[in-house]
Structures are given as C-alpha cells and as structure tokens.
Symmetry: none
Subunit: 179 residues, 4 copies
C-alpha cells in the first residue's frame, strides 16, 4: 500500500501541469500537452482522471479549496471586501479559474464550490451585521457577482485595474445612507 509513492507524486504533477496549462491557454488545451508538461504518459493522466472533465473539475476544486482555506484566515469584520479582492486577484490572468468561478464551465467542483460559498456566507453575514453590505444579498449572489467582477477586470486595461471590484463594492454597500 505504500508503493503508491510515485502515483501520488504523478497525480500532483498532473494537477500542477493542468493548472498551468488551463490558466495559460484555457481548458481547450489538449491533454497530451498537459501529460507532456507533467512528464507522464497520456495514459497516466487518464488513470488518475478518467475524463478530461474530471481533470478540469479536479483542478478547479483544488483551487476553490485553496481559496476557501484562505477565507478562514480572514475573520474580522471587513474581511469580506478583502476576500473579494483576493479572489479577484487570483482569477485575473487565470482563464480556467475565471471560467470556473463564473460558472461558464459545464463542470464545477461541486463540493469545493460549496465550501467556497460557505466561506462567503460567514464573511458576508459578518459584514452585513456591521452594516457594510446590503442585507438582501446571499452568498450565492455574491458568488455570481464575483464572477462578474472577474469578467469586468479581464476586460479592463492594466491602468484601470480594480475598477470592476470598486464598482461592485460600492454597489454592495448598504445603500440606504444615501438619504
């Protein structure tokens, strides 16, 4: 049961290679390219991930998990906006993650997406309690809005970076003090 040492290592290498390839070229990159970059045979990729969709899902779940982990470290009240900022930074220049986050991929790391939503939920509720965010938005809403911010940011030229996030944040703030 221990000889799986290299199997474990191969799995990791495939994930890493896939992550990079997806980020660089999008999910349409051929599996062969990923296998080559990972230094393994094409068959090995399929042993670990029976389907391309499974590999894509794994890469994304992996990433979502990291992001969800990160959320746990941001407990304080304005953690919500900080977190949003981090996610946007993560998604920028990452075609696949961006696609994953904005749901345009058929696949989604179901469980991991849930974890991410949970993380959002916690931070969101805290922010709402502090009166920083409209009370009527849910974690799922924020997820969708995040997707939108990513799309916006990817269209903005470098010198306008952050505007999408800024607008979203402004739009999410409790809007009633406008009186």
């Amino acid at each position: 049961m221990s000889p799986r040492a290299d199997a474990v290592r191969n799995r990791a290498r495939i994930l890493t290679a896939a992550r990079e390839a997806f980020a660089r070229d999008g999910v349409d990159v051929p599996l062969d390219a990923i296998a080559e970059q990972a230094g393994v045979g094409a068959g090995t990729v399929h042993r670990h991930f029976p389907t391309k969709e499974a590999l894509v899902g794994a890469v994304i779940a992996d990433r979502l998990d990291q992001l969800a982990d990160r959320a746990a470290q941001l407990g304080d009240d304005d953690g919500f906006f900080a977190y949003l900022g981090e996610l946007v930074d993560s998604g920028r220049d990452n075609l696949a993650l961006s696609a994953a986050l904005d749901g345009s991929l058929g696949v989604d790391g179901a469980a991991s997406a849930e974890r991410l939503s949970d993380a959002f939920q916690t931070l969101l509720v805290a922010a709402q309690r502090s009166g920083l965010v409209r009370r009527d938005v849910t974690a799922a809403d924020v997820h969708a809005i995040l997707a939108g911010v990513l799309a916006t940011e990817s269209r903005l030229p470098p010198d306008r970076r952050g505007l999408g996030l800024e607008v979203a944040i402004a739009g999410l703030r409790a809007s009633r003090p406008s009186r």
Copy 2:
C-alpha cells in the same frame, strides 16, 4: 438579378440557425449542425461565410448592430441605465453574444463593436452631465462592466435576476453626494 431569392433566404436561415446554435451551445457547435438546422448543405454555409470565424463574426456584428440601433432610440437622460438594462436582457441566455460582449471571443465585429461603444459614449456623457454617473468612468469601462454584469446575471437563478445590474448601477452612481 432576381434568382438571388434563395440565396438571400438561405443566408438569413444560416444566420438565424447560427444565432440560435451559438446562443444555445456556444460557438463551438459544429458547422454541420448549423447547416442542418438551417436546412442547407455544409458547402452552402461556406459559400456565404468562407470561414467559421466569419460566420461567428457576422452573427455577432449583426447582434451588436441591433443593439447599437436600439441605443439611438433612447435619447433622454436616464437612457443610460435603460440601455444597460436592455443589453443585459439581450445577453442573458445568449452564450455567444455574451462572449462577444465580454470580448472573450477572438473575433469581434470590429466596426459594430465600435458603433456600440459610440452609443455608450453618448448616453454615458449625458448621464454624467445629469450627475447620475461617476464622472471618472469611460465608455470602455462601461463596456467592461457590462461584460461583468452579463457574467453575473448568467449565474443568478431566475428569481434573482436583475441583481447584478442593480449592484452595478448602484456602484456607478455618483458616489460622493453621500455626505
């Protein structure tokens, strides 16, 4: 000069079929599927659009033109927000248009995209003069934000529709009168 009756009709049918197929399944649908739905042979599609890219571009330019045309009819001051709303309604449930608007398609009906930006420009300036929109955003910024709203909306469940637009609008409003 009259025998073009079929040609004209076929071209329209191809465009319609392509529009629907792109909207439903994204631009990766096989041309054969489009040809079949249009009731023509594969070669006919190529006669009208020598390249798949050309067909995609034509469908998108077509749509962008419609949208730009629509902008001309909204002259009054709050036309800007109304227009934004219309664009979002158009892009929702339309994978290809959405992709076109958010620029993730390699191709874009260059001229038509320009027309759309011009339309934005006019409405945006008017809205800014009326103090309804932050003065520091440009038409290009709005274009990017539109892409984001589309992404958001496509992720929202039906009963939350409009939230992405709402947040963006709130975020775009002149934010300083909040004193």
Copy 3:
C-alpha cells in the same frame, strides 16, 4: 440556329481561360477559377464540357491540333529536328501541355494525338530517308522521347536550356557512321 453566337464565343473564352490556367497552375486548378477568368458561370463551363476531364482533354486536343498544323508547314528535310525544337519550346513553361505530351494525364485528346503522331511520321520518315535519324525509331517512339525532352528541359536551369533536346537529337542521329 444562328443565336449560338455567344455560345460559340463562350466556348472559346472558356478554352482560352482553361489553357492559361492549366499552363500557369496545372490541371488541379479549380473550375471556378477558370469560369471566373472566362467571365462565365460555373454552369456554363459544364454545359460546354460536361466533365472536368472533358475540358482538359479539349484544351489539350486544341493544342495538339495547333502543333500538328504547324508540322504541315515544315516540309523540308531537316524539318524533323526543327519541329522537335518547336514542340519543346511550346511545352516549356506550360504545365498542362507538358503533362499532356508526356502522357501523365489520364486523358489525351485521342484524335489530336493521332494527328500529331501522323505529323511526326511524315517528318520522321523524311529525316530517316536523309540518313539523319536512326531507322529503327517510330513516330510513337519519338512521341515518347519528346515527352522525355520536355521533362528534362523543365528541370534544367535557364542557362542550360536546350541541353535535353541536344542530347536527344544526338542520340537519335544515325549512330552507325561512328565507324
């Protein structure tokens, strides 16, 4: 029966266009290109030449006829070598004719090829009578040798032009005076 005026003209224009196109690009040139250059529709080409093969055959027969006609004007004794020279000049820089003459085209203007062989026959016999050409070669042999000379010439750089013909002529001369 006279309204065929334009039909006749079209036929001629198609032949001319085909001749040029075949000469320039080889027989794989699309029929559409020929039709366009001839200023007629694709259907018209097929009305006159039901098959591409038929068109190729017609072009070649046409050319062979011209060449055969030319032979008639060369009656004198050393006409044979002069004629060979003319044929080589004609075939050089003419992919299709060259192909036709060297038989690598599936098709051949049967009747016209015969006429050409007949022309050869006459000149050949005269040359043989004058002791200028080996007595054991036939008109068909010469035809094949002509094809070879054309192939050779097309491979020679400009500054070596004529060598293929020269060698063939030397080889065809009555070889016995070598005593």
Copy 4:
C-alpha cells in the same frame, strides 16, 4: 523500451503501403486508403508522419537513399551507364518515384536528393575521365536527363523498353570522336 515493437512495425507497414499506393496511383491517394492498406487507423499515420507531405517526403527519401546506396557499389568505369539503367528500372512503373526524380513533387527528401546527386557526380566524373561521356555535362544535367528518360520510358510500350535510355546514352557519349 521494448513496447515499440508495434510502433516500428506499423511505421514500416505505413511506409510500405504508402510506397505502393504512391507508386500505383500517384501522391494524390487519400491517406485513408494508405491507412487502410497498412491496417492501421488514420490517426496512426499522422502520429508517425505529422503531415501528408512528411509521409511523401519519407517515402521518397527512403527510395532515394536506396538508390544512392546502390551507386556506391558501382565503382568501375562504366558504372555510370549501369547506374542510369538501374535508376530507370526503379522509376519505371513508379509514379511517385518518377515524380520525385523529375522534381515535379513540391517536396523532396532534400538530404537524400543530395546524396543521389553526389553519387551521380562520382560516377559521372569517372565516366568523363574515361572519355565515355561529354565533358560539358554536370551532375545536375544528368539528373534532369534522368527525369526525361523516365518520362520517355513510361510512355513506351513494353516491347520498346530501353529505347529512351539508349537514346540518352548515345546522346551523352563523347560526340566528337566522330572524326
């Protein structure tokens, strides 16, 4: 390192099938036909030869190499004519090789063609030293003439075989001893 047994065998089978198919039908035969005759899938052909041109080039280079190898075994003085004869025998009834030799293929096994020219060069010089061949012809000239002989031979009926070669040889012989 051993599992390449199949790969090696398949590569050989593809080359053999291609050689036969090209020889029989010319280089325009569909790859599918070659794949089928080789008993492999279409994809396998592409794995070994990424492009049709590459396959054609490989087949030809293969053949030219064989021919060049053969030249090395003919060292004596009249080797030149013997070699010419062998090349002609090889090219007869081999459309593709013939095309390769006469340069009408866009592709040529560059290195192999060079080897062949070198082989010619050696034999030619020896023959010229012995006074058997005109001193003013170069190896490149002979290459062109070979192409011509092949073209001639392919047009000759079986009972006339060899005439093209015979004429070329006669034409190449030092012509001045006629004194």
